[in-house]
C-alpha cells in the first residue's frame, strides 16, 4: 500500500535533482526545487496514511505537508524576486552568465 507512493515520491525527487543540475535557465532550476518539494509532500502524506507501526492513520504527516507548502511559497517569492534582480543586471536567464561568482 505504501510502496507505490514512496516510489512515486522518489522518482519526483530524482527528476527534480536531474533538472536542477542539468538545466541552465534560472527559473527552471527553481521550478525543479519545487518538484523535489512535491516528492517530499507525497512521502509525508503516505507515511501518515499507511504508518509503519499500528493500523491507525497519523495526521501529523498532513500537517507537515501544509508547513512545507508555507516554506515553498516563501521560497518561491524570494527566489523569483532574486531572479528578477539578476535579470535587471544582465538581461539573460542563463545561470552561466553568473559563473564568475563561483570559486575557481
Amino acid at each position: 500500500m505504501l510502496l507505490p507512493y514512496l516510489c512515486f515520491g522518489a522518482a519526483l525527487f530524482a527528476l527534480g535533482l536531474v533538472g536542477f543540475v542539468t538545466r541552465r535557465n534560472l527559473i527552471i532550476i527553481f521550478l525543479c526545487t519545487e518538484m523535489m518539494f512535491q516528492g517530499i509532500v507525497i512521502n509525508l502524506v503516505a507515511f501518515g496514511r499507511y504508518p509503519l507501526a499500528g493500523n491507525a492513520p497519523i495526521l501529523d504527516g498532513q500537517v507537515f505537508a501544509l508547513f512545507l507548502l508555507v516554506v515553498a511559497a516563501a521560497e518561491a517569492a524570494l527566489a523569483l524576486a532574486l531572479v528578477v534582480l539578476l535579470f535587471r543586471h544582465r538581461p539573460s536567464l542563463d545561470a552561466n552568465v553568473w559563473a564568475e561568482l563561483k570559486e575557481r
Binding site: 505504501l2 510502496l3 507505490p4 527552471i28 527553481f30
Partner: protein, 229 residues
C-alpha cells in the same frame, strides 16, 4: 529481480540523457518514448501492492500523468511549457493525495501551487522571455551525463532496497488492517490548532519575513534603476 531492476534503471537513465534538451528532436522523441516505457513498466510492477481495482486504476492513471508532467518539466526546451507541465504534475499530485484521503492537503496544494506559485513563475518567465524563439541556454543542457548519472544513482539508492522483495513484504504487512477515516478536514484542523499552534505562528512569521525580504529586494531594484536612468 535485482538484474531486472538494474536494466530498467539504466534504460531510464539512457532515455533521460537522450530526452534532455540539446540532443536534437529525433533523439529527444526516442528518449521520451524510452522514459514512458520505463514509467509504464514500473507502475505495472508496483500495482500488485495496491488494494482494490479502483485504487489501482486511479493510481496508474494519476502516477503516469504526474511522471509524464515531471519528465516534460525538465526536458522541454521552452520554459513556459515547463511551467504548464508542472501544473499537470500538481493536478495529478492532488489526485494522488485525494486517493490517500488527504483532501485538505490536496486542495491546499492545488490552490497554492497551481493557483499562486505557478502563476507567479509564468509571470516572471513571460516578463523575461518575450520572444518566440528558443534561447540558446534553454536549448542545451549542462553536463547532462553526470547530472543524469547522479540523479539515477539517487533514485536507485532510494528505491533499490524497497523493491528488492523482503522490504516490500515488511512494509506491506501493517497496512493490511482497518484504516480509520482520515478524509475529514476537522481532525487536521484540530491538530494544527492544538499541538502545532506554535508552528502555525512560526509559519506566519516566516511568510512575513519572506514578504519583507521580497519588498526590500524590489525597492533595491527601483533604486538601481534610478541610478542607471
Amino acid at each position: 529481480m535485482p538484474v531486472v531492476y538494474l536494466i530498467l534503471i539504466t534504460f531510464g537513465a539512457a532515455g533521460l540523457f537522450l530526452a534532455l534538451p540539446g540532443r536534437g528532436q529525433a533523439f529527444g522523441r526516442i528518449g521520451l518514448l524510452m522514459l514512458l516505457g520505463l514509467v509504464a513498466a514500473s507502475i505495472a510492477m508496483l500495482l500488485p501492492q495496491l488494494g482494490g481495482l479502483g485504487d489501482r486504476v486511479a493510481f496508474a492513471l494519476l502516477a503516469g500523468i504526474g511522471l509524464f508532467g515531471a519528465i516534460r518539466v525538465i526536458t522541454h526546451p521552452r520554459p513556459v511549457y515547463s511551467a504548464l507541465f508542472f501544473i499537470v504534475l500538481v493536478v495529478a499530485m492532488g489526485g494522488l493525495l485525494v486517493l490517500m484521503n488527504a483532501g485538505f492537503v490536496a486542495s491546499a496544494l492545488l490552490i497554492i501551487y497551481a493557483g499562486a506559485i505557478l502563476v507567479t513563475y509564468l509571470f516572471v518567465i513571460m516578463l523575461a522571455q518575450q520572444g518566440t524563439e528558443t534561447a540558446p541556454y534553454d536549448a542545451s543542457a549542462r553536463e547532462p551525463l553526470w547530472g543524469v548519472l547522479a540523479g539515477f544513482l539517487v533514485l536507485g539508492t532510494l528505491t533499490g532496497h524497497v523493491l528488492s522483495g523482503d522490504a516490500a513484504n515488511e512494509l506491506a504487512a501493517p497496512a493490511a488492517g482497518v484504516l480509520g477515516t482520515v478524509g475529514d478536514v476537522r481532525p487536521v484542523g484540530e491538530l494544527l490548532l492544538t499541538e502545532y499552534v506554535v508552528g502555525v505562528q512560526l509559519a506566519g512569521v516566516l511568510l512575513l519575513a519572506a514578504m519583507v525580504g521580497a519588498v526590500a529586494i524590489a525597492k533595491r531594484q527601483a533604486a538601481l534603476q534610478e541610478e542607471a536612468g
